[in-house]
């Protein structure tokens, strides 16, 4: 693990002592969840008017109506308290991601780094860079990792509980149990699921068995997807895609410490960053509650970054 980390030039991300969970916020969060759903309804309506086919839910609208939600000083998200609270312990981190589309030039370094680290085939784009069009005929780029939904459709439909969600909010696949039915691929609205249709890329035998956190090598006939590089994150390292991004587009974040960082060393207060930059959750009207936020844009910051970064 450490060797791989050195290779891709990782940066120290989080100090483990930073988190301070506010236990008193639990009740407030129960209420905020209900409010949130209302906002989602309203937000979906207003967004739908902007661009058909692209479904975005603004973070701001949610945060305005939830002063006690995470990002205030409560620690744990209202969303996660509702989705995990009763049945699952809340872990010491709640991993998240911010993708700042103002910085993305569509170079696909993220995809390449991910495929290299996980020994994936060319088709297996766990983070895929989509070329998007707007109503003016312009194009922009949108990297799409697994959204690590708080309410993942892939988890609901998996017949054998091979898909599960960790106490850190990461959705993983147990490839030792997966029967290969591909129901998860049908259910995912983000096309973020990939299957091992044929034998994967050549993998140097390290003698270490694949785990859901680091499913390498991929197993033939099972489903795979982005793991958020949760092993890296828990060792204070960045995810492969984030650290490989030359533009600092991808931020790894933690909702408990409320910090996010990108490859250019920009460290931001996660909630404030999302709020001030009009962050949105993609296709949240599917009731998925992604842990990946997008800051809308079309690469307009690229010149500035090149000089300051």
């Amino acid at each position: 693990m450490d060797e791989r980390a050195g290779e891709s030039g990782m940066k120290l991300l989080f100090n483990k002592n930073q988190h301070d969970i506010d236990g008193d916020s639990e009740n407030a969060n129960e209420v905020s969840r209900r409010k949130f759903l209302k906002i989602v309804g309203v937000g979906a309506g207003s967004v739908a008017a902007v661009g058909a086919g692209i479904e975005l839910i603004p973070y701001k609208a949610w945060a305005d109506s939830n002063p006690n939600g995470w990002g205030g000083n409560s620690g744990v998200s209202g969303m996660s308290a509702a989705t995990m609270g009763s049945s699952q312990e809340v872990g010491n981190h709640q991993w998240a991601m911010v993708i700042d589309l103002r910085n993305c030039d569509g170079c696909k370094s993220c995809t390449a780094a991910c495929q290299k680290a996980h020994y994936l085939t060319e088709d297996q784009t766990w983070i895929r860079v989509f070329e998007m069009g707007d109503s003016q005929g312009n194009t922009y780029y949108m990297p799409r990792p697994c959204m690590q939904c708080e309410n993942p459709p892939c988890l609901d439909v998996c017949p054998v509980h091979a898909t599960f969600r960790t106490d850190q909010g990461v959705v993983l696949v147990n490839q030792g149990r997966c029967i290969g039915c591909r129901m998860c691929m049908a259910a995912c609205p983000y096309q973020a699921r990939y299957f091992n249709w044929k034998a994967g890329a050549k993998y140097p035998d390290t003698g270490v068995a694949p785990t859901p956190e680091f499913p390498v090598p991929q197993r033939l006939g099972t489903a795979g997807k982005c793991t958020f590089c949760v092993g890296n994150l828990n060792h204070g390292l960045m995810s492969e895609c984030a650290s490989a991004c030359p533009m600092g587009t991808i931020y790894n974040g933690d909702m408990i410490t409320d910090v996010a960082i990108n490859s250019l060393g920009n460290t931001v207060k996660l909630s404030k960053f999302l709020y001030e930059n009009d962050a949105v959750a993609y296709k949240d009207e599917y009731n998925t509650h992604p842990r990946v936020w997008y800051i809308p844009g079309h690469g307009q910051n690229l010149d500035t970054n090149a000089t300051t970064g």
Binding site: V157, R177, G180, R182, M185, P189, A199, G221
Partner: protein
């Protein structure tokens, strides 16, 4: 008022009615497949079909070794031919079960010569359809994980429960009417032989007493009542594997009835094809008449119209507002236009025309219609599955599925397995339900006719069957 059809009926009845040797005739015909040794053609057919099945198994082993990519699958065509096979094969099974169950419940005595064949077809096809889950899975050897770690919120677990229950019910539904026949059959084969012993065991000491009859009748009514909602549930749950995802083209409230009607439509068609093949093979024209085919043809045509209606309802609702029209465009004018319009012509227009036109309203015409419907409905399943699976959900290109020799061979093996298993199965059991045929008599089983027709027959001083007089 007697139409030509009714006149034909009367002719048929009078031709058969005075015959006193109904019982022995039925027994001889039903036991034909057991008592006589299989001929040369039977062996040739069985060998050829077995070859296809073995080739399919070989292709599947190849697929296991080389991955599902060899069957044409990819990340944007993650569900394709095998799930269509599962839906289509379990679908035709429903037709067999329903012809038997609905006609039994509604007291249609003309069903008598058809029940055994259609129940046998139902059993064989549900087993094959269930088996197609294995090539569909990337890791078939872990199949029992569904039992070990079931996630009851997954539609696939519901599928598993529904299909398993339905298969069991189909087997029971096939076996129960067989009990009295086994008692008859054990006396018609060599005494002390292996088959006599098998029949004796299967007959469960059936003596044909009043009490036994009453009990069997009651149990059959109950299982007929159970199997109809059970089959509805199977096809609804199968449809939910698609409809409970957020994909345009699949997330449709019309899907459960859509799948149920498709199953009934294709199933009735396969019943027609099956009884035609067995009628021809074992020369059962005396018992399975053109009138049977026409009645089944009417049923099939009615179901075909309902299915066409549901297809329109589905596509119009989705397409009108223009929000999720991608898959509709692909279906109507794009990549899937040829298979879709093939279904419209060969799966709806032609078969219904064959039923409507007097000239083709006979055994042959109905069988041609049946074959067309079975093939078209399999294609229709592909057209339902592929556009929604291959559509881009974010942006970019449509995916595509390419048929490969592996998926084609495996599917053909399933197709060949139907006649193969039926031909073998009916070497061990009577072709028709002897008991039911004897119960309803020549009049009932050949044709159930209305009072008016009988009256007309009387006026034309045609001798009436003895059974009818005693009533």
């Amino acid at each position: 008022m007697t139409s030509t059809l009714e006149k034909k009926e009367i002719e048929q009845i009078t031709a058969i009615a005075p015959d006193p040797s109904w019982e022995s005739e039925v027994r001889e015909a039903a036991m034909r497949s057991i008592v006589t040794k299989p001929g040369k053609n039977w062996w040739i057919a069985v060998s050829l079909l077995s070859l296809v099945v073995v080739a399919g198994l070989g292709a599947w082993i190849y697929q296991l070794k080389h991955g599902m990519n060899s069957a044409g699958y990819n990340d944007q065509a993650f569900w394709a031919v095998y799930i269509a096979d599962v839906v289509a094969f379990i679908g035709v099974s429903y037709g067999g079960a329903v012809v038997s169950a609905i006609l039994r419940l509604s007291g249609q005595s003309w069903r008598a010569p058809l029940t055994r064949l259609s129940e046998g077809m139902a059993l064989v096809t549900v087993l094959i359809g269930g088996a197609f889950i294995f090539p569909h899975l990337g890791r078939p050897e872990r199949f029992l994980n569904i039992v070990a770690y079931p996630n009851f919120s997954s539609p696939l677990v519901w599928d598993f429960i529904a299909i398993a229950t339905y298969t069991l019910a189909t087997a029971i539904f096939f076996y129960l009417p067989l009990i009295p026949d086994m008692a008859v059959a054990k006396n018609l084969v060599d005494k002390g032989g292996k088959r006599a012993r098998l029949f004796s065991i299967l007959s469960l000491n059936w003596m044909g007493t009043k009490k036994q009859r009453a009990l069997l009748h009651r149990v059959l009514t109950v299982i007929s009542l159970i199997i109809i909602p059970l089959a509805v549930s199977v096809h609804s749950v199968l449809s939910w594997a698609f409809a409970l995802t957020s994909r345009p083209g699949w997330m449709e409230s019309v899907f459960p009835p859509y799948f149920v009607v498709a199953a009934l439509y294709s199933g009735t068609a396969l019943v027609i094809v099956t009884i035609y093949a067995f009628r021809k093979g074992y020369k059962l024209e005396r018992f399975i008449t053109d009138r049977h085919f026409v009645r089944l043809g009417y049923m099939m045509a009615a179901l075909g119209l309902v299915y066409a209606y549901l297809t329109v309802a589905d596509m119009l609702t989705e397409g009108y507002t223009g929000i999720t029209t991608g898959w509709i465009q692909e279906t109507l004018t794009g990549k899937y236009a040829i298979p879709f319009w093939f279904y419209v012509i060969a799966g709806e227009i032609v078969p219904i025309a064959l039923v409507v036109m007097k000239k083709t309203r006979n055994a042959k015409g109905m069988t041609v219609a049946g074959v067309l419907v079975v093939i078209s409905l399999w294609i229709k399943r592909i057209v339902i599955i592929l556009p929604a699976a291959t559509q881009p959900l974010i942006s970019g290109q449509w995916g595509s599925y390419h048929f490969t020799w592996v998926s084609i061979t495996v599917t053909l093996a399933g197709v060949a397995a139907i006649p193969l298993l039926l031909m073998i199965l009916f070497r061990f059991i009577p072709l028709m339900s002897i008991d039911e045929m004897e119960e309803v008599g020549p009049l009932g089983s050949i044709e159930q006719i209305s009072k008016e027709t009988l009256k007309a027959a009387r006026e034309e001083s045609i001798p009436e069957p003895s059974k009818e007089e005693s009533k």
